[in-house]
């Protein structure tokens, strides 16, 4: 299951095991609620638990990036495995997001 935590001005999104279009809407919607309610500046996507992702995951990250980057916020992706890293690079999102 995905989890959301606000620490200072950062929203930490712990992503679920599987990220597809079926789940993506919910994750994006929840993240947006936290961003709006907690004056969040930066967003961290944690892929530690994630074993599967398709292009819906790119949409989630790009959508949050659009929202917070105009206010000077940064987006981070952590615990990115090889497969997911490949997708982030192919889509070009890796040039917008700090990948660890």
């Amino acid at each position: 299951m995905e989890e959301f935590h606000v620490i200072d001005n950062c929203l930490m999104v712990r992503l679920p095991e599987e990220i597809d279009h079926h789940r993506a809407g919910y994750i994006a919607e929840q993240a947006d609620c936290y961003i709006a309610q907690n004056a969040v500046e930066h967003v961290v996507f944690d892929f530690e638990d994630t074993k599967f992702m398709d292009s819906s995951g790119i949409g989630i990250i790009a959508g949050r990036y659009k929202q917070i980057s105009c206010l000077g916020g940064k987006v981070y992706a952590i615990h990115v495995n090889r497969q997911i890293g490949r997708m982030l690079h192919m889509s070009g999102i890796s040039s917008l997001v700090d990948i660890r």
């Binding site: 597809d20 279009h21 079926h22 789940r23 809407g25 599967f52 992702m53 292009s55 889509s91 070009g92």
Partner: protein, 164 residues
């Protein structure tokens, strides 16, 4: 050695995981590498999701707009067909729908091109299918539907060589 399966399911987002898990199970006895499995599952997920959101325009995944339209309530009814054939060491996958079809296939296949930016689609679906499989073919007629054919050579060992 030859083995084939065919599966029809409703074009709703609940079935995206069913489709990719089915294909993963279909090739499980070949002991595919984790990377091969991830490649196949992503490609299947892309094709099936396209049939659901673009073909049948059922774009409400779980959670989105929960107040009004739950994910299992299709806006348009229609089945997605998933066909898999394992012939020697090559996996063939076909995903088809009888949805709205694609006007301009070349354009649709360009990376980052999407007709649904408002749904946060990234336009990377075909690019991932192309990158993660060995071969990709798209056939589509506007108003009639779309078929995506993909192939991947499996690296797994001696299992194929037995008969012939």
């Amino acid at each position: 050695m030859k083995n084939e399966i065919e599966l029809y399911f409703d074009g709703i987002s609940n079935n995206e995981s069913l489709a990719r898990v089915t294909v993963a199970a279909f090739v499980a006895h070949l002991n595919p590498t984790l990377e091969e499995l991830a490649d196949i599952k992503t490609a299947v997920s892309e094709a099936v999701t396209n049939s659901i959101i673009h073909g049948y325009e059922n774009y409400h995944g779980y959670g989105k707009y929960t107040g009004s339209i739950p994910a299992y309530l299709p806006v348009h009814t229609g089945k997605v067909r998933l066909y898999c054939l394992l012939e020697k060491d090559v996996l063939h996958i076909e995903v088809s729908d009888k949805g709205r079809g694609i006007e301009n296939i070349d354009k649709a296949m360009e990376p980052l091109y999407t007709t649904r930016p408002e749904l946060e689609r990234s336009g990377m679906g075909f690019a991932f299918m192309e990158a993660f499989m060995d071969d990709l073919e798209v056939e589509s007629t506007p108003g009639q539907g779309t078929t995506v054919r993909m192939k991947k050579k499996m690296t797994a060992g001696s299992w194929f060589d037995g008969e012939e």
